[in-house]
Every structure is written in C-alpha cells, then in structure tokens.
Symmetry: C2
Subunit: 258 residues, 2 copies
C-alpha cells in the first residue's frame, strides 16, 4: 500500500475522499473528534480528565480555532473523511464536510484512538483479529458508568480484541505503555461482568471470530464520548464518523512510555 | 517514624499542625493545590491538559465542592498544613486555613507531586540528594515556555536532582513509569540550556551538594502553576505553601504504568 504523509492524507479527505482510515499513514496517531459549544466545554474537559482511559485528550482547539499543531496547515472542519452532527444527543446528519455546521463558539476535543496501540501489538507479534478478518473492531456499551462531570455522564464503551491466552500478559504489558491512547485493558475475560450478553452482537462495529484459545480482552474506547453525548444531550455536538478518524502529525511513539 | 494514614495526617493539619509533608504517609500520593475562580477554570484545565508534565491533574473539585475521593471525609480548605493567597498574581497572605478566603465559585485543581516518584527512585537504590541532605528540593524557573491556554502562560519550573552517571538511565526508566506525576525528566545535564546560570542559587527550595560523578537531572515541577499565576495574574488564586502538600488517599502505585 502506498504510504502518504498525514498532511497528504488530510488533503485527500479535504478534496472529498470518504474512506475509513484504518491502516493509513502508519506510525502516526489518529484521533476521535468531539466538538461542543463553549458553554459545555469546561464540563467535557473535566469529564475527560476524570475518564482518561476512554477519553485521553491529545489536543483541544479553543473556540475560534480550526487548526492546531496536530494537523499543521489543516482545518478540523474539512480534514476528516466524514462527520456526524448531533442535536440534543440525536444523530441528525452525516457529511464529508462540517463547515456549514460549525460555529465560532465550538471547542474541538481530539481524543486518542486505539489504532496507536494496535500497531505496537502487531509489531510485537500479536495478531489483531478484526484487522486479519477485514472488519471494524467490535465495540460494546457496558454496565459500567463513567465518572460524571457537570452535565456529562453515561456508559463506558469498550472495544474487544480476542487474544491468545499465552499472549494476554504481553498485550497488557504493551498497551500499558500507551496511557495516552486508552492504555491497559479495563477487563480481561468474562463479558457478562461488563453486562455484555453476546459478543457476537456488538453495539458498534463488527463481530469477529474467535480461535480456540482466545480470551476476550476489553479496552476503554473512544466511542464513549458519542454514548455520553446520547445520554447527556448537549444542544450541539459534531464528531467524526466511526472509523473515519483525524490523521494527526503526531507519531505513535510520542505516546509511548517505558 | 510513626506512620499515620493519610486521613490521620490530614486531621492533624486540620487541628492546626503546620509542617512540611515530605516523608509523611509513605506510599500515598501527595498533591499540589491551585484553586481559581470558575471564570478562569476552563483556561487552567486546558493549560493543564497542554502541559501534562508540569501540571499532571490527579483530580478537580468543581465549584462548591470542598471534598473528593482523594481526601475522603476531608475539607480542601483546612486539610493542608499551610496555604497561600494570591491576588492579581501577587502573594498577599499565608495561613494554616483557607476557609476565610474561599468562595463558592472556586474550582480546586489537585496536581501530582514528585514525592511519588522519589519513593520509587529510593526503592530502586537511587539516593535523593535533598532528602539525604535534609533540604527542600531545588527548583528553577527556566527559559522554556509552557504551552499557553487562554489567559494562562508562563515559564516552566523544574526540580533538579543530582544523579550518579551510572544511575541516570535507571532514573529515566523509573520515573517514566509515572507519567501522572511529572514522568520522565525534561532535561539531563547542561543547566545553561534551560537558562539556569547557577545551580547553587535555586529560585525555590534549597541548593544541594553534588558528588563527583553526579549529573544534574531536571524534572517538570508542580510549582510551575505558581509561576504561571505570577505571570498571568488571575484575580484570585489559592495554593498550598511549597512543601506543605495535600496528602491524598491515592496510593503512589496507582499512578505506575509498566
């Protein structure tokens, strides 16, 4: 596959290309977007501080800003392949450009994405089922509550990867080194303890097949903010479309600790 | 030394004891305090997000809150040994209780403290000069700017520990495992590159003696917010007095990543 730089990828999206971003610009961090009115920004910033595993902030664009060093020369309203518009917590539109929806008072939160640690897992010889099977990662709403902050509350959403029993400890060790992009798993094994009754029916993304010795391993997921928007119903919210992430100029390795 | 629980230590301070907290309640995280009016809270929360090495947030008490799970059953206005009051960036008072200064609209930020990783360094056989020499850690204002956010900007303040050359790599490895409490060093060696002209004249704390093979190692410091308050001049700010920290109920090991 041809490898483009993050800015070249963003230029393609700005020009109209709509595609999931998994595997693009390998080695560079991708990010979830959530933009909220300034009046809700303190509450969400506090929510992210209190819930660093599902909402690890890579950057924040203040009201009136549409670019940042994470997307040098770019525009947050156009440089993601696809956007979603929420009013009062309801998904009301999806489009490749968010410029018409944008307002001067919006604050844009860029939230880390597990694509970063998936590369590290693969580099360490751990296969990622949903990549091997050509599917989107399976994600589940849990019965675990996030820590509320101001007007924001809602359920923790997790992503799940089947990991061979002999590699679960390695998967923990490797992803623990990336606290800025969801970090260590939040749960290993028994899905029922999270309120997940059927792994074959994820709430977001696609189901994946298990091998005989695979253990389900659950990580906090960057889709949590969308579940929180649905639960907390801010007047306006703009997000990326799932799987269609912002490709940033930050290298994955920037977020690794020993 | 008698070992009290964090809540027992806080009760002594609430009853009027004024003492530096270094070495008290070993194994439990201590925290810097900065309380600001709600109108400045978003800007400072964003400042902390952008400057996680000097300002790693362990918790935030929203306006009207005076306790939190970090100080269960406690009161942030009384449970620190000594407080400082700043008006328009100027230090105007110091007292063992902040209740008379407190306002309903204050938001209290609890910021991680390097005492947490000092314990880990000592456990790994690395001696801490300022502890061995019975002094406060030396701290220096640098010529490195923090990343501004809203009304807040100012210089990075660093703490310095002389580390034997053969142990510098270990000190990096060990402190890197604590990204929530300043993490890895920001600079190793040559003080001049940070704009520090004389290690024997720190801007805060005490100078320490070097052994022959010691290298100066610099970590981002939780006193940075006080330098930022001086530079940014919010109308009101309340902090702890340097060295007189909040002793929290959170275990140091909570903040360790592999």
């Amino acid at each position: 596959m041809e490898r483009l730089t993050p800015s070249a990828e963003r230029a393609r999206f700005r020009a109209g290309l709509i595609t999931p971003t998994s595997g693009l610009a390998p080695g560079f961090a991708q990010a979830n977007l959530l933009a909220l009115p300034q009046e809700d920004a303190f509450d969400f910033l506090l929510f992210a501080q209190r819930n660093p595993k599902p909402c690890p902030l890579l950057g924040v664009l203040e009201a009136g800003e549409v670019s940042s060093p994470l997307l040098a020369g770019g525009d947050i309203r156009t440089d993601i392949p696809s956007y979603r518009l929420f009013r009062d917590g309801e998904l009301v539109d999806e489009a490749p450009v968010a410029t018409d929806w944008w307002r001067e008072d919006l604050v844009a939160f860029l939230i880390g994405c597990s694509f970063t640690f998936e590369g590290a897992l693969q580099d360490n010889g751990i296969r990622i089922a949903h990549i091997d099977q050509g599917r989107n990662v399976p994600m589940y709403r849990t019965n675990v509550d996030t820590v509320p902050a101001g007007r924001f509350s809602g359920p923790l959403v997790v992503s799940m990867r089947p990991i061979p029993a002999r590699q679960v400890a390695d998967a923990v060790r490797i992803t623990s080194r990336y606290p800025a992009v969801h970090g260590a798993p939040v749960h290993i094994g028994d899905p029922a303890a999270l309120g997940i009754t059927d792994l074959s029916r994820p709430d977001y993304g696609d189901a994946v097949d298990f091998m005989d010795d695979d253990v389900p391993v659950f990580w906090a997921c960057g889709v949590t903010p969308q579940a929180v928007v649905a639960a907390s119903r801010p007047s306006l919210a703009i997000s990326h479309s799932p799987g269609h992430m912002l490709i940033t100029d930050a290298r994955d390795l920037t977020y690794q600790v020993p």
